[in-house]
C-alpha cells in the first residue's frame, strides 16, 4: 500500500501525485517508469516517475485524465492509498553532454519529458524545450520546465498560449537558427511520428519515448511490442526510449487503439456512476 502524500492539480485534467515509495525513490533514474494499480478492480497502467525525494521516500507522478484508470488516480487525495506501485521499470535515459538538445513534449508527454529535461540540463547541455498541446489548459509544467531549460517555446493548436501551430513548427524554428545535436520527443504517437519526420530531414539523432499499452511492465506479456528498425521490441524492457527514426509509428498507432471501444464504454459508465 502506497500512501498519497500530496496532490496538486496543474490543470483541470492533469494532477501531480506525490506517493510514498521509498525503495523506488532510491533506485529510480530519469526515464524510468512505474506500473500502478489503484485498487482491486484497477488496471495496471504505466506512468513515468517525474521526480523523487530520497529523504522523504516519495516519488512524483503526473497523470492526465484520459480514461477510467487515470481518472481514478486523479480523484485520489492526500491520505488515500494506491494498492500497487511497482518499479522502477524500463531503461533509464542515456544522459550525456552532447551540446544542444531539443526536448519536445506534446500533451501527456510533457510529464515524462520533465525529468529528462532536468537531467540533460544538469549534464551541461543547452536545452531548448518545445511544449505543444491543443490549448492553454493542456500546457503543464511550463514554469518547472523553464527552471531547467535555456528556452521554452510554447505551441498551441488554437493559439491560446504561446504561438499558434504544431510542435513541428517549434522544432523547425530552432533548427533553422542553430545547430542541434539531439532531439527528444515525447507525446501522442502522431506527434512523435511527425517530430521524427521533421528531425530526419536534418539528420538530427532523435529519441522517442513510447507510450504503448502495457500489462505487466516486466517483459512477460508482449502487449507493449513495437517494430523498431524492422525488429519487434518490448517497450517495457527494451525501452521506453528508441531511435525515433526507426520506430514504426503507424503500427504503434494501430496497436494503441486496440481497446478503444471497450475504453470509451468503460469511461462512459465510470462518468455516469
Amino acid at each position: 500500500m502506497n500512501v498519497v502524500v500530496e496532490k496538486i492539480f496543474f490543470s483541470e485534467k492533469v494532477a501531480k501525485l506525490v506517493i510514498q515509495a521509498p525503495e523506488i525513490a532510491r533506485s529510480r533514474k530519469a526515464g524510468h517508469f512505474v506500473i500502478v494499480r489503484v485498487d482491486k478492480f484497477g488496471e495496471r497502467i504505466p506512468l513515468t516517475i517525474a521526480g523523487a525525494n530520497i529523504e522523504k521516500g516519495t516519488i512524483d507522478i503526473i497523470v492526465q485524465e484520459v480514461g477510467v484508470s487515470s481518472s481514478k488516480l486523479c480523484k485520489l487525495n492526500a491520505g488515500d492509498t494506491i494498492l500497487d506501485v511497482v518499479g522502477p521499470l524500463g531503461k533509464a535515459t542515456h544522459i550525456e553532454k552532447v551540446g544542444t538538445v531539443i526536448a519536445a513534449g506534446g500533451g501527456v508527454g510533457i510529464a515524462p519529458l520533465f525529468p529528462i529535461v532536468e537531467a540533460f540540463k544538469k549534464a551541461g547541455n543547452r536545452v531548448i524545450t518545445v511544449l505543444a498541446a491543443r490549448n492553454k489548459d493542456l500546457i503543464i509544467l511550463e514554469d518547472q520546465m523553464r527552471q531547467f531549460s535555456d528556452e521554452v517555446i510554447v505551441m498551441t493548436d488554437d493559439g491560446s498560449s504561446g504561438k499558434k501551430g504544431l510542435v513541428t513548427q517549434g522544432i523547425e524554428e530552432v533548427i533553422a537558427r542553430e545547430k542541434v545535436d539531439l532531439a527528444v520527443a515525447i507525446g501522442p504517437a502522431v506527434m512523435m511520428k511527425f517530430a521524427a519526420l521533421t528531425t530526419k530531414k536534418y539528420d538530427i539523432p532523435t529519441l522517442a519515448s513510447l507510450n504503448t499499452i502495457m500489462v505487466d511492465g516486466t517483459g512477460m506479456c508482449g502487449a507493449c511490442r513495437v517494430s523498431v528498425g524492422g525488429e519487434t521490441k518490448f517497450v517495457c524492457v527494451d525501452g521506453p526510449e528508441f531511435d525515433a527514426h526507426k520506430v514504426n509509428f503507424d503500427e504503434m498507432l494501430f496497436r494503441l487503439s486496440a481497446y478503444q471501444k471497450q475504453e470509451v464504454e468503460a469511461f462512459q459508465s465510470f462518468l455516469n456512476k
Binding site: S27, R37, R44, V237, E251, R255, Y259, Q262
Partner: protein, 494 residues
C-alpha cells in the same frame, strides 16, 4: 538408494500395511476398473470458469485405493520427481485415514492439491505404475488420489502446519513466488530461517496464478497453501522486482545470507512471421494474464480483453490448451488449435487435450501459420496456413514437421493467440554480470546443490530448465533448500 529401499520395506512391513494388504486378494484388486473422474458437463463448463474436474467422492477414492497392490518394489515412486511415498499414502486412504494420507504427501510435496491437478501423471508416476508396466492395464489413479487426500485436508479445516525449528535469525530470500520458490520456502522455514519471498507481480503464486486458469486450478487451492507458509513464518513481499526495486547488493547489506532465484521462464516467444503485431494477435501470456491475473472477463474489473468470435491458438502445449479453452469460455464461436505436428507429439497433458475436444475445440494438427492479414484498422482478420507432414525424428526424438509445398490456404480469424513457448526471464542474469548462463539464457547451476556460479545465489525451476513442470520446479526448490542450508552452515562456522 540402498537406504531408501530399506526404508520403504520397513514402512511396508508395518502391521497396519500388512493387515490392509491381506484384506483383499491381489487378483481381486487387479480386476477392478480404474475410477472415472467426475467432470462438469462439457456444454455447461465451456461457458464459465467452474473447475472441470470435481474430484473423487469418498467411495470412489476408497475403491481406487484398493486397486493399488502395494508393490514390494513400488516403481511408481521412481516416476515422481519428488519421490512421494505413493503406496503409503494410498494405503492410508484405503484404511480411511485421509488426513494421514495428506501428511504423507506433505513429507515430500508442499503443494499436493496443485500437483494432483496439474502433474502430467501419465508421463510420470502413473507411467511407472505396476499396472502400466506389467499388467498393461490402466494405472492406479495416483494423481486423482493425491488430489483427493489434499482436498480432504483443505476442506477439513485441519491443515497440519509443518513444525519449524527454532529461529536461527538468518535471513534468506527467494526471487519469484512460483512453485519452485514455495517448495524452497517451506523447507527453509522448517530449518528455522527467516524467509522472505519477493514477487514482481501483485499476486503470489507465479504461473499457478497468472497462467493456469481457474477451471483447471482454482486460486483458492493455491491460496490455502500460501496461507500455511505464512503461518510457518514465511514473509511475502509483492510488487518488488529484485534487480530493479533493489539490487542484490542492497539486499546483502540488509543482511540476506543467500538467495534462491526462481524467476521462471516468463518471456513469450513469437514466430517472427509477417503481421504478428496486428491488433488481435496476442501472446498466450498476455491473454491468460488479462483473464487470470487481471480478471478481465469480469465487467467489474477495469482491464479489458478481446473476446473474439474466430479464435486461433498456435501451439500444442498446456499453455495453448489453456488459452484456447479460455477463448471458448469467453464466447468464441470457433476456437481452434493450430499445431505443426500431430496429436501424438503434442506436449500438453493428455487430460487437457481430451477435455478440450469434449468442449468443442477444433484441432488443426499438422498445420502451421505463415502470415497474418488485417483490416483497415489494423485488426487481424485472416491468416495464411500451410499443411505439414511428419519427417524424420529430430534431436528431441519427435518426428519433425515438414511443410507441404502448395498446400497453403486461408482461415478467417479475429483473434490469434501465439503459444509457441517461452524463454527464461532475462532480468536477473542482466543485472548480475558474474552469473553464468547457457546460450539459451538459463542459469547454470550445480545439479545437486542448485548453486550458481555466484556462491550465495542458488536457482531452480523454469529459469534453470527453460520451461518445465510444476513438480520439477518444486523438486529444484527442495534441492536448493538443502544446498543452501549446507552452504550457510559452512559460511556461519567460518
Amino acid at each position: 538408494m540402498e537406504n531408501l529401499t530399506t526404508y520403504l520395506t520397513q514402512e511396508r512391513d508395518q502391521e497396519w500395511r500388512t493387515e490392509i494388504r491381506a484384506k483383499i486378494k491381489l487378483k481381486e484388486r487387479t480386476l477392478k476398473l480404474r475410477v472415472k473422474m467426475n467432470e462438469v458437463d462439457p456444454d455447461i463448463r465451456n461457458k464459465n470458469s467452474v473447475e472441470v474436474n470435481s474430484g473423487l467422492t469418498v467411495d470412489q477414492a476408497l475403491l481406487e485405493a484398493q486397486r493399488c497392490v502395494d508393490c514390494i518394489d513400488p516403481t511408481c515412486i521412481t516416476g515422481c520427481p519428488v519421490g512421494i511415498n505413493i503406496p503409503k499414502f494410498i494405503k492410508k486412504i484405503e484404511i480411511g485415514d485421509f488426513l494421514s494420507a495428506a501428511s504423507v504427501l506433505k513429507e515430500t510435496n508442499t503443494l499436493p492439491a496443485v500437483c494432483g491437478r496439474v502433474c502430467p501423471q501419465e508421463k510420470q508416476c502413473e507411467a511407472q505404475c505396476y499396472y502400466t508396466l506389467k499388467l498393461k492395464k490402466e494405472p492406479v489413479a495416483i494423481g486423482y488420489l493425491e488430489r483427493f487426500a489434499a482436498d480432504y485436508e483443505q476442506n477439513s479445516g485441519k491443515m497440519s502446519i509443518p513444525e519449524v525449528e527454532k529461529s536461527n535469525n538468518l535471513k534468506v530470500a527467494a526471487i519469484g513466488s512460483g512453485p519452485a520458490s514455495l517448495a524452497w520456502a517451506a523447507d527453509m522455514a522448517k530449518f528455522g530461517y527467516d524467509v522472505t519471498v519477493f514477487e514482481a507481480l501483485h499476486e503470489i503464486g507465479g504461473v499457478l496464478k497468472y497462467g493456469i486458469p481457474e477451471f483447471r486450478l482454482p486460486n483458492t487451492v493455491v491460496d490455502v497453501e500460501i496461507e500455511s507458509l505464512r503461518e510457518m513464518g514465511v514473509k511475502f513481499i509483492t510488487n518488488f522486482i529484485v534487480g530493479r526495486t533493489a539490487s542484490f547488493e542492497d539486499l546483502r547489506t540488509q543482511g540476506f545470507q543467500a538467495f534462491f532465484v526462481a524467476s521462471g521462464a516468463g518471456l513469450p516467444r513469437f514466430m517472427d512471421i509477417p503481421g504478428e503485431n496486428y491488433i488481435g494477435v496476442f501472446s498466450s501470456n498476455e491473454y491468460l494474464t488479462r483473464v487470470n491475473l487481471m480478471n478481465a472477463a469480469n465487467p467489474e474489473y477495469d482491464t479489458p480483453v478481446m473476446s473474439g468470435k474466430n479464435v486461433a491458438v498456435i501451439g500444442g502445449g498446456n499453455t495453448a490448451m489453456d488459452a484456447v479453452r479460455t477463448a471458448k469460455r469467453l464466447g468464441a464461436e470457433t476456437s481452434r488449435i493450430i499445431y505443426r505436428r500431430s496429436l501424438n507429439e503434442m506436449p500438453a497433458r493428455v487430460e487437457e487435450v481430451k477435455h478440450a475436444m469434449e468442449e468443442g475445440i477444433e484441432f488443426l494438427n499438422l498445420n502451421n501459420p505463415l502470415e497474418y492479414y488485417a483490416d483497415e484498422n489494423g485488426r487481424v482478420n485472416r491468416m495464411k496456413v500451410q499443411k505439414m507432414e511428419l519427417g524424420e525424428p529430430d534431436s528431441s526424438g519427435r518426428r519433425s514437421p515438414v511443410p507441404i509445398e502448395g498446400s497453403e490456404y486461408f482461415l478467417d480469424v479475429d483473434t490469434v493467440i501465439v503459444s509457441v513457448g517461452v524463454s527464461p526471464n532475462p532480468l536477473i542474469p542482466a543485472c548480475l554480470s558474474d552469473l553464468k548462463v547457457s546460450k539459451w539464457g538459463t542459469i547454470i547451476v550445480d545439479k545437486e546443490t542448485m548453486q550458481s556460479s555466484i556462491p550465495d545465489i542458488f536457482a531452480g525451476g523454469d529459469i534453470v530448465r527453460g520451461g518445465a513442470t510444476v513438480i520439477l520446479a518444486m523438486g529444484d526448490g527442495r534441492k536448493a533448500a538443502a544446498g543452501m542450508h549446507q552452504y550457510i552452515a559452512e559460511k556461519v562456522k567460518k
